[in-house]
Symmetry: C2
Subunit: 195 residues, 2 copies
């Protein structure tokens, strides 16, 4: 309860106040406990609200993490849609969905990477999102052996692509059409997915 | 000449002073002009030395860039060795050489990425090295169409792999043996190299 008072937000106040208190508590818990260590219950306790209220406002833990990041794109919705189609053609769907979603927000992506990677802390939200949410969702849909390793390699390729296209600006990648990038790159992703 | 005096290093002094003056001037020129814009002549002018002295001490422009970075690994020597073998099996050689060189220096790599990517400036040395040196050397040895795009994609995969293994720590990649990583990942690189 003391944390709630420290934050100066009455959790029993308006909807906006409650949401803000939950997001504050979530940022604090994800930073200190990591995505795996933090629980909706511990976040609710810090925010001084009932855990069911978090689910009501934000959904599950992964969606709460994304909400703390205030992104122009909702990666959970995107990745959930991609994996729902199964492993067939998932390399192309993953890459096309990622690029189509982020291409209009290149500057935001670049700023996000620069801010978050600069921290020596492995618990920054973007890393948690890639490592603890996206990679798991990909691994869950793969078949065959070493699914976790193959999912991590898929994620690493996606990270590399995004860095090269939006941050490091490896000519001619930033200006290559989505179709051309997908045509060249998706088969490599698919190969890892097929195992 | 005024710059030389500002830097307070007599270019005609000891070897150490001269080397330091050249490195200072190189850092300054690469930062302001970019790797492509900077020339050994302009760097020599700023350092107050003859351009031939730079070649004598450091070699060519790419080697001078690497010297300014004070890395525990010399990427120019590594990439030159890799491309010398031609495109056959280059995916495996590139990945194995990269990982074998940097695995003992994970922390240095991570610190380098965090420091340099945090800068919103596209002229940081590591980006210049990847974009203007390594990618070009790879493109030069490829055959077929879209060599520049394919080289950029190869570089992006290498960046993604390094980020995932050394910085973002995508489980289980940091602890996967070089042989296993190469076995899973090199075919994707080779596919892009073969076109």
């Amino acid at each position: 309860m003391s944390q709630r008072r420290q934050r100066g937000r009455p959790a029993g106040g308006s909807t906006g106040d409650t949401r803000a208190a939950i997001l504050d508590a979530a940022r604090s818990q994800f930073a200190s406990q990591g995505y795996t260590g933090a629980s909706l219950r511990s976040i609710a306790r810090e925010a001084g609200v009932d855990a069911s209220l978090i689910s009501h406002y934000f959904g599950d833990k992964s969606q709460l993490l994304v909400a703390t990041m205030e992104l122009p794109v909702n990666p959970i919705e995107k990745i959930t849609g991609v994996v729902a189609g199964g492993v067939d053609g998932m390399g192309e769907r993953l890459l096309r969905t990622f690029l189509t979603a982020w291409d209009p927000h290149r500057d935001a992506f670049s700023a996000l990477v620069r801010t978050q990677l600069a921290s020596a802390d492995a618990q920054v939200p973007m890393v948690q999102l890639m490592r603890d949410v996206v990679t798991h969702k990909v691994a869950d849909v793969l078949e065959g052996d070493e699914r976790k390793l193959r999912a991590a390699l898929v994620a690493s390729q996606l990270i590399g692509m995004a860095l090269a296209r939006y941050v490091v600006l490896l000519d001619p990648l930033p200006d290559t059409s989505v179709d051309d990038v997908v045509g060249r790159y998706a088969p490599s992703l698919q190969r890892l997915m097929d195992g």
